[in-house]
């Protein structure tokens, strides 16, 4: 009897082991838990990362950050730029088996546009931040028509924004009967399996996923086939523990490690690093209403006192290049004009300071230790500026406090990073505005704002390029902030992970990624 039991147990264990081997699970470290499972509503970057594996929008960002169709087969723009027609791909299924129709798109968008949903990007589509959607039609099951009140060069780019949840199209069953949020049912290559708050999120491969016809993945679009059975996002807040987990093969991938950890992990057997420049804007903000810093010569002097090459090399361990433009280096709009930045010239800085009558008055610069690159950027800037006679004093605040000071404009100088904006118009928009209405804005120049408004309306690429170049030149002259670099994302992964690479949008993509046997 015992022998029979033992035999049965052995067979069961062997079968179990066989099944466990057949099931491939990619284990990915997240530095913080997701906020919710509702795309684009209660979200942060980690939430976006997870949700963009479950839901898909009509359009999405390509590898080069341009916008291409995703659920749409094609997108037609009317001659007046006020009507967009989306032809949907046929035979796309939701994760509950239902087929995607134009009615689903209309329903999802009407829900997004309802203020009660609290969609993060409502302002981009209700007329506050650009064109207003005046109506959505579904003339046939595979056609959706959006009507706008004015032309907008940003309409598709806003639709594709990761922080908007990629405007992911949802099935109605994502909501409970009372209209409250239940769980996302999208059309993405993975479906939500389990979320254990504070511990992990598990996604399962969606077997009936309908990939696009392209040869391979292209940013958030292209052929997005899941090659692993499941993805397990594990919440590991401490970077040292995350590194230990990767080294001990307890996880397969860390999508974002610090530059110093990347250097260390590069030499670890079984681990490789994937670098990519990103589209964040890292630099020093000036309060142009400050009695001292309202003098453009002092701001320009600070800009000339910094050795950008040396600083960026130190900040990124040689993985990034300096960029003084609000147009990210990886943007298709990063032109020869955008490359014209500040010259490191301590003599010129001293001349400007003397001309402005500066004689060592202290300038307070806010930094924080939550984001080490902001602290280091402040520290290096302070050290370099001393050589030109500038007296910059650092004030270290907690990140939440610094963010409040940024929002209220209550600072002289601060080391700051703007999260990635994928279109130059949105990059400039995050910096520009009327300070009396929005104190957080750093660049208050009505002429420049008129140029930006034109760029937002314009959809012709060449014309947009000219407008962005003009804005860059004006910004370098006004120096409301010194943009230093865009940064680099470094992902650390086990050798067994195949097909993964970092990209300028930074958010990791786990379709097209497979696991070789350990």
């Amino acid at each position: 009897m015992n022998r029979l039991l033992n035999g049965t147990l052995c067979v069961t264990l062997a079968l179990g082991a066989g099944l466990a081997q057949a099931q491939t699970t990619l284990r990915v470290g997240l530095n913080a838990d997701i906020r919710s499972t509702e795309p684009g509503v209660n979200r942060d970057e980690n939430t976006d990362t997870v949700m963009l594996h479950i839901v898909e929008g009509l359009v999405a960002h390509r590898e080069d950050a341009s916008v291409g169709p995703l659920l749409a087969r094609e997108v037609q723009r009317s001659a007046d730029g006020m009507t967009y027609t989306f032809k949907l791909r046929d035979g796309v299924h939701f994760q509950n088996g239902a087929t995607l129709t134009a009615a689903d798109v209309k329903w999802t968008w009407e829900r997004y546009l309802d203020p009660k949903t609290q969609w993060r990007c409502l302002a981009e589509f209700d007329g506050r931040g650009g064109a207003k959607i005046t109506g959505i039609d579904a003339p046939d099951p595979l056609t959706v028509v959006f009507h706008l009140d004015q032309p907008s060069g940003l309409f598709l780019a806003s639709m594709a924004r990761p922080d908007c949840g990629g405007s992911g199209i949802l099935h109605r069953d994502s909501l409970a009967a009372d209209g409250s949020w239940k769980a996302p049912i999208g059309t993405g290559p993975f479906s939500l399996d389990e979320w254990k708050p504070g511990q992990y999120v598990v996604l399962s491969r969606f077997k009936d996923y309908s990939p696009r016809d392209e040869a391979g993945p292209d940013g958030f679009t292209g052929k997005k086939t899941a090659l692993v059975d499941a993805v397990r996002f594990m919440v590991i807040p401490d970077p040292s523990s995350a590194k230990a987990a990767l080294m001990s093969n307890n996880i397969d991938l860390l999508p974002n490690v610090s530059a110093s950890d990347a250097q260390e992990l590069k030499t670890t057997p079984g681990v490789q690093i994937s670098f990519s420049p990103i589209m964040a804007i890292c630099g020093l903000l000036f309060q142009t209403n400050d009695p001292l810093l309202k003098d453009v010569r002092i701001r320009q002097a600070i800009a000339h006192s910094l050795d950008y090459g040396q600083m960026v090399n130190a900040l990124s361990n040689g993985t990034s290049e300096p960029n003084n433009s609000a147009i990210p280096q990886t943007s298709p709009f990063y032109s020869a004009t955008a490359r014209q930045g500040y010259r490191y010239d301590p003599q010129e800085a001293q001349r400007l300071l003397s001309e402005a009558g500066y004689h060592g008055q202290p300038i307070k610069m806010i930094v924080n230790k939550r984001y080490s690159q902001m602290f280091d950027m402040g520290l290096l800037s302070q050290a370099m500026a001393v050589a030109s006679g500038l007296n910059i004093q650092m004030e270290t605040l907690e990140w939440g406090t610094q963010l409040e000071r940024y929002q209220s404009g209550n600072y002289q100088m601060m080391a700051f990073s703007y999260s990635s904006r994928l279109d130059p118009a949105t990059s400039f928009d995050s910096l520009m505005g009327d300070k009396s209405k929005e104190p957080r804005k750093v660049w208050d120049n009505p002429q420049a704002q008129a140029v930006l408004r034109e760029a937002v309306r314009e959809s012709d690429t060449a014309r947009r390029q000219a407008l962005f170049d003009q804005l860059h030149t004006m910004m370098i002259h006004d120096t409301p902030m010194v943009i230093i670099y865009n940064g680099t994302v470094a992902a650390a992964l086990r050798d067994s992970v195949k097909g993964f690479h970092s990209w300028p949008v930074s958010s990791p993509r786990l379709w097209g990624v497979s696991l070789a046997a350990h």
Binding site: Y200, S241, A244
Partner: protein, 313 residues
Amino acid sequence: MLRFILQKLGMAIPTLLLISVMVFALIRLIPGDPALLMLGDMADPQSLAEMRHTLGLDHSLVTQFLIWFKAVLSFDLGFSISTKQAVLPLILDRFSVSATIVLVAVLFATLIAVPIGLIAAWKQNTALDLGLVSVATLLLSIPSFWLGLLLLHAFGIQLGWLPVVGYVSFAQAPWQAISYMVLPVVTLTLVEVGAITRMARASTIEVLRLEYIAHARAKGLSERAVLWKHALPNAFAPTWTLVGLILGNLLGGIAVLETVFTLPGIGRLMVDAIFARDYPVLQGCLLLITFIYVLVNLCVDLLYPLFDPRVKL
């Protein structure tokens, strides 16, 4: 006894009331806006105002306090600003993780440290005493996160015996749960062994100087009998108070160790809540911790007569 318990619990009510007012006020004194932290650097004034309205932050502080306090009286601690989860089940779930680790570690630490303290006192001023005191001082001085990382590196990475990250509860898989608990429990035990050993040694030395010990020896009792039957019961009472304090302190969260070992405990929840200015979660955690502190002290007081018969409740 019952009167004593009711009296102690009665005294806890004004403490909790005072704490709830202080917690509410102090948290709001920290600069930073939860709505702004949720929206980040893209927050336009209208979205910010809408978010503040949704979170109920546009009411006056007094109104916010009254709304919260009324709900607390019916055991409703509200919803998390960040994740929208109900606070009470969230903190109870997280507390159970911390409590498991802490109770096991403090039990082990006590079982190890008290005999060591006793032996060190018995062999006072010998090489053995010096060695034990040195180890205890060393353990007391090592930062817990560093010790944790060291053990992680040794047993997780180099030897590969234990998992480095994650957590499994006993309800899910008991054996697996133990493998995830070993490193945090060992770390915490080692850290606490130092403090308890020193206290056990000091109180035993004091007791060994008393006349009744000399009397016991004069009666011809063996050193073992003197130590275990006569010295230990009296020497353990102050150590027991220290164990109670340590327990109360640690049950409030072992944020650093929870972060190093990725344990979803109440300490990490609290740290995350501070960074996100998640007021309801933070208020709920602090209220629970205060209550636990009161409860642990009550238990210590109730058990005191067992170790020191001179104490009457």
